[in-house]
Symmetry: D2
């Protein structure tokens, strides 16, 4: 019954392989000339910019071109400092509204994103009339799928850096900064905006946000502006179940690499259960991750979708009877129900100092936000 | 934004299609002649017999041939009354031991199962020397994969029924019944055998068992004998995460069809978490399913596997710190920790009368059983 | 450099597996009752009847039901004696015309064929209004794809034979025989009909026909009626390149099995070139196959298709400058250009007595026949 | 029956997409430093160099490094002037012999090829001991499959050109030129070497060679040295049937682009038949392609393989009875059997001036060359 065979040969030496590649210089020249000659260019930066370490080049290019910057729609990473005066927000993830947002720009440069990631179908043209789209990505499949635009295949960071060598300083008034969001009213229960305004107020300087709360995402991104690289993570597209284990993994990486940044997750009370078992791993590993759970007891993004599609009253979208406190405790987490901004600040600070995960359910308003 | 299109045509009329097919009569004749002429045939019945409604024919054939009956290895259903005097138990799921078990039989008829489902690799011949294997299944892929034997393609129930028309009564002493299992000692915590002896003692007459507790499976099947069709369900092969939602689904079907049989699940404390969210569905639907959770705080089947492979001490196989009571309560279940046989009887009876799911964690011995 | 490893173990004993299966008896009963109670049933037999040795049962069922018989559309085998008084011909391979052909029959039984194989798209209902379709096949994929009808899964031959045990003799006037085709006029060059009338006149008693001449198929089947099992072969559907090597393979099988039937192929002058190399194999093996090549120097079936679709003048459909005589001789065949019926008779007789393949190009009229 | 639907929208504007990409500058620097610091580097250029227009850069790099150059094994294109003093020939397509050939070089740079394409299995190490391999390709799958070496992902031409900016001139004696092949003896029938020496002697200045004659390939490449880009085409790996239609396609492209280079194919008398129908296309298009067919009436490469594997006498490898002249004429080609060098020269010149294809069968010695 000795059925185990020793491998005869030693393992071969590890090979190293390139993990990135640069742009075709000729096509890069064309893109640079088109940008330099553009009357009013717009920039759209996507997750590939963050993955390739391209924040500094992205900022430099935006300033060189005096151009407004949007985030690509439904991004799984942040690609640009959201408190930068050029930043205009995240593009809508629907055909018609996205094109309207870009209206008036003769050239749009998209870097490190698909063209484009849409969620609800809202008819329209893919681009405003007369707008030219230039596309930079290191994913040939994204190029093959793009319905409009001319594409360049290359690492986003390398390509941005190479563009900077070719594009002259624009002589054009830079965009005016966005307004700071008005302080939301504090109600009981809290609105999503009030919750996230409180989160922003108590946000740790170098915090990492992992989120999976689709219906609250607009409020979250309105209130909490990401300003550092590699600080925002969510799923690409809309598959639920990624956020909670991702937060545990990020917290583990921050601790084990010694980088030590605090990690905060915002996970909807529906999303929370897809991979709830990840909490046990966090507890066994004594990870100080804080999980804020906005509790609206419903599958609100689908209710919002149903409203857009004029099919209200879809059954099966209510989620009552889930005792998040008991479940989180059952998997070994500290837990506290949070109802006010101050309570959130205290609980957040305590959780980030703890040697185990903390789950903070926060009852919020059950108003269903618009999907767009 | 009116982007919903009415279908132009009415739905076509539903078609009906055959869902079963019978044996080739010529091959059936050959099989019947080989069985009739066999000196000492053995019968192996598998899940396909249960799926095709073939219990009565299986019993009749066993008695006609005066032959011993085994269950196919690692079955996802029971195919024969396990308290019948001809029943010998479940075949081992390893090559060598399985062939040894069948030693001495000149013919083996396998119906409604692959040839064979193995789990640990234990070398040996697939059959004892000189043994002929006849194989009946309605799955051509099972035929293609079988390493030994001659195969007949046909619905197991139809084929058994057709065989009965062709096989004469054997003039041979029928097998002696198996011994009743000795009553296990009651310890604290309970052994797996003592737990399942108690479960058997309090088993409801027409109960349905859904199980997913691999390391305790041998003890469970030793103590609790399935005697009715469509009363035992588990995953085919060893993929975890099926048992708990399957139990909820069976309970829903029993209630909604009006058949009304009581449903008891035995789910290991590791298996429990794969699809733990199913408990919420059971609670929302007010299903009276009882989930018995043998708690040994480890991934015991892999420890048993590691011992067979002489690689003890594999890391990551302990499962401490899981508060099953809190988690089950968090999803809306009644729950009670059970420590004695009597307590199990009372809790089981109460749970089956309740209008919601009941989870019963039972601490058991942490001894690791042998995998074979 | 001794890199060849001897196999350690002897080859395992060969296994035998069932290659056919019977009908579900319950569904068979339903079909039998529906047929027995039908006012005016029609039978459609397909290639599966021939493959499963079901000609005798097919004839007996047609006579039992006093029902007309069609061949399924675009069949790769003949399934019924085409000189039988019940035989009505091959169904059209287009939706609307096929349903029109079956008009008036309350029940249609299709055995051993897909429901249905279509080629050009001609709109219409799949069945006449009020007609019920019963479908017998041993191919579950054919069942899954059928747009209409109720299906039974079973070997066509076994199922026909089992139906005969259940269906009583109908008390109904049997169909009148088809008219014999009028003798076509002999022109120069020959029309396709005149060529095939000559072929029929000189056809060897137990000849096997392999054909691949799509545009001439209607004329061929009109003039030459297949009356014995396993005597007609072509590709299923319309993929060219099968016919010539198939004829060589059939000729080899007839010789090597000792069955010794004469083999005649009819291969269009376009089809001829797809796998022209097969001629060399026939020559090397000294096979007495005769290949009749109707030469119209065009891809006529696509011209017919283009006419149906009202897109005449499609380029690339003419095939001039192909010297079939030279090419066939280059691969080792006897060859003779045939221009008259008598010449065909003599050349055919000589070719079937020869010890090598014979290719007979026959210039025919370039009129493009209708596709339907 | 009006079943054609007009497209509602005009076709979208065509998009342009990048078809090449450059190297990661950091990895390029590492490669440049390793090459600059190498004691005795070797260069292996493959088809990707030709495809990416990199001949000039390849020559410049070879001279910069004073390094010997091999062709990658079994290339489908030529990547370097084979009459250049640095060129050493084509690497053997077997593991052991290939490594032996590179013995003594501390660094091997492979550009535009897999590492490596092997045909017969001859055991050995993939590289000489202590040799480092650097690999440049634009095919990530080639990188994933390579058993040894460090890989850079980038267009071969762009990468060679970028390397030239980074690698200094080596202070090292350049390799000595290869000897000119001795003039082979002229026999009757001709040897393969004598045939190809004659072909080389009469080769048109800017001729394009398309070949598919595996057993004669070594002799062909020994006698006829490719010295210009985009002038040699064959199949990648060993799939037969590509050469003859490829030659027709190249000839069509040369004529229709106005580039007008003469095209000569060398197609073995076995390979000739795989896609023999291509000759008709060439004839219909009046293309002046010349097809030289070395006729040895056998499948010689497999005989050579059988000898390497010590399994002589494999049946089915003789190819008698193929009248290439008749077949080529049947498809509309001019044709002449060639038996002497002078006759080849005259026939080649005439064929390249003709307005149709010419096929020149040349009986050659039936000696089977070694596969390595």
């Amino acid at each position: 019954m000795d059925d185990w065979v020793q491998p005869a040969d030693p393992a071969p030496e590890p090979r190293s392989v390139a993990t990135r590649f640069g742009p075709d210089p000729q096509r890069l020249d064309e893109f640079a000339r088109l940008l330099a000659g553009s009357r009013d260019p717009a920039l759209v930066f996507g997750p590939g910019v963050d993955r390739s370490g391209g924040w500094a080049s992205a900022v430099a290019l935006a300033e060189r071109l005096a151009a407004p910057v949007w985030s690509a729609p439904a991004p799984e990473r942040a690609a640009f400092p959201e408190d930068h005066p050029h930043f205009r927000g995240v593009l809508p993830f629907a055909i018609g509204p996205l094109a309207e947002t870009l209206s008036g720009h003769d050239t749009v440069l998209v870097v490190g994103a698909p063209v484009f990631r849409y969620y609800p179908y809202v008819p329209g043209e893919h681009l405003p009339p007369g707008t030219r789209l230039l596309h930079v990505t290191d994913d040939p499949d994204e190029i093959a799928r793009a319905p409009v635009g001319d594409s360049l295949l290359g690492d986003p960071g390398l390509t941005l850096s190479a563009l900077l060598d070719l594009v002259p300083q624009a002589d054009r008034t830079p965009p005016t900064p966005r307004a700071t969001p008005a302080a939301p009213e504090v109600t009981a229960p809290l609105s999503a905006d009030a919750l996230f305004a409180a989160l922003a107020a108590h946000w740790p300087a170098d915090g990492v946000l992992v989120q999976e709360s689709p219906s609250n995402l607009t409020a979250l991104r309105r209130q909490l502006r990401i300003s550092r690289p590699a600080s925002y993570f969510t799923m690409a597209s809309g598959g639920l179940g990624y956020g909670l284990p991702a937060a545990v993994g990020v917290a583990l990486a921050e601790r084990d690499t010694g980088r030590g940044r605090p990690v905060v997750a915002v996970i909807g009370d529906g999303s929370f259960h897809y991979s709830v078992q990840a909490l046990w791993t966090a507890a066994r590993l004594s990870l100080p991750v804080v999980v804020v759970v906005p509790v609206n007891q419903q599958y609100a993004i689908l209710k919002a979708f149903a409203e857009l599609k004029k099919t209200p009253g879809v059954p099966g979208l209510d989620l009552p009877g889930l005792d998040i406190t008991a479940i989180a405790a059952g998997y070994g987490c500290a837990t506290e129900v949070v109802e006010t901004p101050d309570q959130l600040g205290a609980a957040l600070a305590a959780g980030l100092r703890a040697n185990r995960p903390t789950v903070l359910p926060v009852p919020i308003s059950t108003d269903v936000p618009s999907i767009l």
